[in-house]
């Protein structure tokens, strides 16, 4: 069964069909790219897949389970986590606390355990601390765990966002322009990190990206969106060579 399947997914805002008849199948363990010119509807697709918007037509399925119309919270708990195009970390919280917020669903103690520091609380929090540090370590952020998130350099904030999303133990990870604003060296590092995350966490990843080097470097398949409709779909190299795709990006 496919990890993610969308069927004729669509949404209109007033008379504008922002996304129309969107069909996509992402297999388990795949690294899938979603590309297209600015305003094509890529982030809208992410917003549909995470419950920020409810689709007006069609639906989508995570491992066969229909998730259309569920709230962002429910969808996250079913196993979809994401990052944001404009970084949305909890800036006033420490780096490790950002990750812990994601981990907290796994913690199992009551208000009273926490308030009076009972053994169960200590045990669970210690466990969380260990897991959070392991995650930060993967992204080379363990040394900065007590910094405020807003004090991290840009590239590391992007990494922290991925770490925070992974902390919610998703099955499918959505990355919205992970390389935006990065220099070539940071992008190269990011590509390694993304591949590592896929292998290490056995993750399925769907990502939006404008950096074609990143897309052609790590994505096995891509879908191209243009004005809300699907322009092309398939193996990355073939799709990127498609004259229609080139035209959509560069014009006639």
């Amino acid at each position: 069964m496919a990890m993610l399947e969308t069927k004729n997914l669509g949404i209109s805002f007033g008379g504008l069909r922002a996304v129309d008849e969107f069909n996509l199948t992402v297999e388990r363990g795949q690294l899938y790219g979603l590309i297209g010119p600015n305003g094509a509807g890529k982030t809208t697709v992410f917003n549909l897949l995470t419950g920020v918007y409810a689709p007006t037509t069609g639906g989508f399925f995570l491992e066969g389970k229909s998730l259309a119309g569920k709230t962002p919270l429910e969808i996250n708990r079913c196993g979809i986590a994401r990052t944001f195009q404009n970084i949305r970390l909890f800036k006033e919280m420490s780096v490790i606390d950002n990750v812990k917020v994601g981990l907290h669903n796994a913690a199992n103690y009551s208000i009273f355990d926490g308030l009076f520091m009972l053994p169960r609380y200590a045990r669970e929090e210690k466990e969380l601390q260990t897991r959070a540090r392991e995650l930060l370590d993967v992204f080379g952020l363990d040394g900065e765990r007590d910094y405020l998130a807003s004090n991290l350099p840009y590239g590391k904030q992007r990494k922290l966002e991925i770490a925070r999303a992974l902390a919610t133990s998703p099955k499918l990870l959505l990355l919205d322009e992970p390389a935006a604003g990065m220099n070539p060296q940071e992008t190269a590092e990011l590509m390694e990190t993304i591949c590592f995350v896929r292998d290490h966490f056995d993750m399925t990843i769907l990502l939006i990206e404008h950096d074609m080097k990143l897309v052609s470097g790590i994505c096995e398949q891509v879908t191209v969106l243009n004005f809300g409709t699907t322009l092309a779909q398939g193996q990355t190299a073939e799709v990127l060579a498609d004259p229609r795709v080139v035209r959509a990006y560069l014009g006639e």
Partner: protein, 298 residues
């Protein structure tokens, strides 16, 4: 000097009361981004519950404990219900609609009290029979020390809760970015409800201590006190929890000092002077003592 110290302690205990109530305003503002003007009236309801419960059961230590627990739970439930019925349906509405609703809830509670108990101030039976002690010639009311001690314990528990537990960090996350918090698996509605429950329970503790100090209750007792506590929250930097604590204590001390040290002609207007300090402070630092300014990068 002796007057100064006893006034300081008086101010500290008054300020602790403000702080307990200011926390409710500040937490709700920080997390739900709204001013809950009905918060002061929760205290009034709390004192009435205490008044009725003590009247029915007497003021023996056991009965007092039971009455106090009933009252605090009642306040917490009241806060929960107000949020559920009045504010939650307006989650997507403009802040002004929510503000007006909050004022409406405030009037509703006051008028319910007016309907049930009449406009006359009622005397709450004395329940803390505490005298005073002398330390180095300074007379100190034990009640003031009790209020101070209870407040400090409550604040410590609250700080542990906010900074060290998962629900606390969920509250911090929601206060920063509801949308992102929700996508990270945080139940935003439950977190906001919890904030109201905690804030209202603190108001309940405030009511218990307030009525021990000033044992009269009328329909408007809460709103007058509440507005000052709100001012304290703004003074400390609304949205900031340590800010509410410090703001409350400072407003209390300023008010007590003004009462004692201003010349008689002016001391009647001590409230006005307390607000004057607030205004000057806000002119100098518009975000309040510990409030943070968010600079948007462009």
């Amino acid at each position: 000097m002796q007057t100064f110290i006893s006034t300081l302690i008086d101010g500290l205990s008054l300020g602790s009361l403000y702080a307990l109530v200011a926390l409710g305003y500040s937490m709700v503002y920080g997390i739900a981004k709204m001013l809950n003007f009905a918060h002061g009236d929760v205290i009034m309801v709390g004192i009435y519950v205490l008044f009725v419960a003590l009247g029915a059961m007497g003021t023996s230590p056991l009965m007092l404990t039971i009455a106090a627990l009933i009252m605090i739970v009642f306040c917490a439930l009241l806060g929960f219900t107000i949020e559920k019925l009045a504010y939650k349906p307006l989650r997507a509405a403009s802040p002004l609609s929510v503000l007006i609703t909050a004022i409406g809830v405030s009037y509703l509670l006051q008028n319910l009290a007016l309907l049930i108990f009449g406009s006359r101030q009622q005397k709450v039976p004395t329940y803390f029979h505490l005298g005073s002690i002398y330390i180095g010639g300074v007379q100190i009311e034990l009640l003031s020390l009790l209020i101070l001690a209870v407040t400090i314990v409550v604040m410590i528990l609250l700080s542990i809760f906010i900074n060290k537990t998962k629900l606390g960090s969920a509250m911090l996350a929601v206060s920063e970015d509801k949308g992102a918090a929700q996508l990270m698996g945080i139940n935003v509605n439950a977190t906001i409800s919890l904030t109201f429950v905690i804030g209202s329970a603190l108001a309940g503790v405030g009511a218990l201590l307030y009525a021990a100090k000033m044992p009269w209750v009328g329909p408007y007792t809460g709103s007058v006190f509440g507005i000052k506590a709100f001012a304290a929250a703004v003074f400390g930097g609304i949205g900031s929890i340590p800010g509410a604590m410090i703001g409350g204590v400072l407003i209390g001390i300023i008010e007590a000092m003004m009462n004692v040290f201003l010349p008689d002609v002016l001391s009647n207007a001590s409230d006005g002077f307390a607000y004057l300090v607030l205004i000057i402070m806000l002119v100098i630092k518009p975000t309040g003592l510990l409030g943070r300014k968010h600079v948007e990068k462009v």
